[in-house]
Amino acid sequence: MRRRTENTPVAIERLTRQANRFAEITKRRFGFAYLVFRLNPASLLGLIIVVALFLSAFFGPLALPYSPDKTNAPERFQAPSSSHFFGTDKYGRDVFTRVLSAARVDLLIALGSIGLAFVIGTAIGSLAAYFGKAVDAVLMRIMDMIKSFPQFILAMALVAALGPGVRNLIIVITVIMVPSFARMIRSRVLSLREMAYVDAARTSGVPWWKIITAYLIPNSLGTLVVTAALNVSYAMLDAAGLSYLGLGVRPPQAEWGTMISEGTSQLLAGRWWISVFPGLALFLAVLGFNLLADGLRDIIDPRMRR
């Protein structure tokens, strides 16, 4: 029983206004976020770490005198000193320079895969929720399947299949991250779908893709951003873990997990700096994103807080 009534320009304008108000509320919440950041010291710390991470990733390697990748065998295995803050590794490369240079790759992998998972997951989740029935069943069962695998093992098998490398790491981590996004947006859209203005838009002939992109997704953005922020840290840990097993980037590219793994055999020879510093960097980066995500969640969507 469809209420096919208000298909007039006036009605559409009213609907648009309604939707805009929703968007405005969302925006205000984001603006509010800025204030709360200042109030929540932990999240502020997270923000600082993340910003510092970005800055050092982009400008750090430029400011340093050493090349991250060039070998310099005579300088190898030097303990931390004033000329090499974090010491040197078995190829004589400066560990500090490499830790900074690795930040680029690790950020690229984490943000790249989360970005892709965000887009793909949003598409899948909103389509499933909007159309329901068979579409929903098929798409969400596929998500369930991916979820039901031991994720790290699945990722390992996939990387082993595709071959190591930044691009393949991004693809694989995207695959294992998509279900979280799809589930999250599906539940959001399910509740929004029944809202009066969406219903009205549908009955007044606004095409489905426009409803999804113009009404449903913008109103789920907050939830999505929180999901993304939470998952960046998982993506980072997964990428580094895979690299630790040798399934990571191509040498001589620096990457934290790979560096930790290179230092493993040196640890018991007392050369702790080769693995401890990259690990510390990884820990700080993940901590930064976690704190930031916590703060964002408190502000944008307090109900998500488990």
């Binding site: 070998t71 065998a73 399934l247 191509r250 001589p252 493993t264 020879a269």
Partner: protein, 528 residues
């Protein structure tokens, strides 16, 4: 509750005080990988082969050179002097085309069965018939069909080869896959599903040698126990305890602390920094005939061009690699026939000379940055990773961009099948140290096992075929020399170095004998 805790604790303390440590007569070895799948006729992993090496005998073995006469301070085999093991003697007939083995009589296996020619026949039949076993080795040894193995009587067996074969006799001494199994015992475990007892033998042993299997804990340890009735005398080591210690640094520490008598697979870097001066530890560094090299894809430009290949050969800092990757435990490779092999000649004209490399590249029409090449290596090989990283810098220096491709061993195997490498780091260790065998692996356009760069040269093919069939050593040497010169000029592969083998062992260990296949026989060793 509390009281039972106290009882438990006191029990712990009490028993911990009388904990049974390794017994005298035990020999403990720290190994780096799983010990598994040790059917001797299919085993491909080194450690599985070592278990076979100690639990089975072969027909032949080698005389040894005592430590004080050997150049490396350690007793080692003399691969030119064969001696009987389960075969007491052998005769060559028809110019070496037919080999007759006279088997040792009165050898009783641990099962109580007596050794006969049936054990030999059945072992070779298994080697031939089990799908996972490599027939190729039998073919290389000159056996093209099972019909050419003839049992004469219980103690005599005859092999009719395709042609006289230099590898046949040493193969019986060198290869653990030529192990003789206790056929009578094994046949009790044969089923319809498992016609050669392959599954059974992967987990059990039907010994014919000095040791039997005592226990096996998957992923942790294997213990072998001496067989008192061994025909060669009671083994001096009562038990061999293989402990799996995957992390190299831990194996080093256990060796230093004396918890193990011997540690396997210690990298040059760890030997040099941790073990050379460690009290109580002996390190023997022994040159080998193995070659570390990288192949070049000769079917496509730019590597099709000999000038480019020569340029690369001049761009490699050989001495730096030996120093920085191998910590000096290696020697320059100066010919496709290694220094330790007969007929070796220093034919390799290439030294590190980046200017010359740039010049050759320019001559070939390539400017700096015009060439980009992919260098592949297996991700589980840290030494090759180091070589790759240094090579990249060196080739970058002469204007060749290198992309390092770290390949899972799985994909590496596929590439091996299709021979689709651009450049790949590879290692070759000859099972038989013979110049013709050395030359036959990687350069012949059709018969080589490992011509990964798909090098084709009709002259070389003809010379190699001639050298294989040649029986006159003088003519053969002439052919081998010509081939060495040819390969040195053409550089289808870049030879980097011949790595040494480091034996890391406690200094109270006696009786160690170095085999060029690296396998260790414990029955004459002791760690008293």
């Amino acid at each position: 509750m509390k009281r039972s805790l106290v009882v438990l604790l006191s029990m712990l303390v009490g028993l911990a005080l009388c904990a049974p440590l390794a017994l005298a007569g035990d020999f403990t070895v720290a190994v780096g990988a799983e010990l598994e799948g040790w059917d001797p006729h299919t085993a491909i992993f080194f450690l599985a082969n070592e278990i076979n090496w100690n639990t089975y005998d072969r027909l032949l073995t080698f005389e040894t050179i005592p430590a004080d006469e050997s150049p490396y301070g350690v007793e080692m085999i003399d691969s030119t002097r064969l001696k009987g093991m389960l075969a007491e003697s052998w005769e060559l007939e028809e110019n070496g085309k037919v080999v007759v083995f006279h088997l040792r009589k009165g050898v009783i296996f641990p099962s109580g069965n007596e050794f006969t020619s049936e054990d030999v026949r059945y072992s070779i039949e298994r080697k031939w018939e089990i799908p996972t076993a490599s027939r190729w080795i039998l073919n290389v040894m000159g056996l093209s069909t099972l019909d050419n193995m003839v049992v004469v009587d219980d103690y005599t067996i005859k092999f009719i080869l395709d042609a006289p074969n230099a590898i046949f006799l040493p193969g019986w001494a060198f290869l653990s896959t030529m192990s003789i199994v206790d056929a009578t015992e094994l046949k009790k475990h044969v089923t319809d599903d498992d016609p050669y007892g392959h599954d059974y033998l992967n987990l059990n042993i039907v010994p014919t040698g000095p040791y039997t299997l005592e226990s096996y804990v998957p992923g942790s340890e294997v213990i072998l126990k001496a067989y008192e009735g061994y025909w060669g005398g009671v083994p001096t080591t009562d038990r061999i305890i293989y402990k799996v210690v995957p992390e190299e640094a831990n194996r080093v520490l256990l060796l230093k602390s004396g918890d193990v008598d011997m540690a396997y697979f210690i990298s040059a870097e760890q030997v040099s920094s941790q073990l050379m001066d460690a009290p109580g530890v002996n390190v023997f560094s022994i040159p080998t005939a193995g070659s570390q090299y990288f192949c070049l894809q000769t079917t496509r430009e730019p590597l099709y061009n000999t000038l480019v290949r020569r340029a690369i050969a001049y761009a490699v800092p050989y001495d730096d690699l030996i120093e920085n990757v191998m910590y000096g435990f290696a020697s320059r490779a100066t010919s496709p026939v290694p220094t330790l092999t007969a007929f070796h000649k220093d034919v390799y004209p290439y030294d590190y000379n980046p200017d010359k490399a740039r010049e050759l590249l320019a001559q070939a029409g390539y400017g700096p940055g015009d060439i980009t090449l992919t260098l592949s290596y297996r991700l589980d090989n840290p030494d090759e990773e180091a070589v790759a990283i240094y090579l990249k810098d060196a080739l970058d220096d002469v204007g060749i961009n290198v992309i390092i491709d770290k390949v899972a061993s799985t994909r590496f195997s596929e590439m091996r099948g299709s021979q689709d490498y651009e450049m790949a780091l590879l290692f070759w260790i000859p099972y038989v140290n013979n110049p013709v065998y050395q030359l036959s692996y990687g350069y012949h356009s059709s018969s080589g096992c490992c011509n990964y760069g798909r090098y084709t040269n009709a002259t070389f093919d003809a010379m190699l075929d001639a050298a294989k069939a040649e029986t006159d050593p003088v003519v053969q040497e002439g052919l081998v020399n010509a081939m060495q010169e040819l390969i040195a000029g053409e550089v289808p592969i870049i030879l980097l170095y011949h790595p040494n083998r480091q034996i890391t062992i406690r200094d109270n260990v006696t009786g160690y004998v170095y085999w060029t296949n690296f396998l260790v026989r414990y029955d004459v060793m002791s760690a008293e």
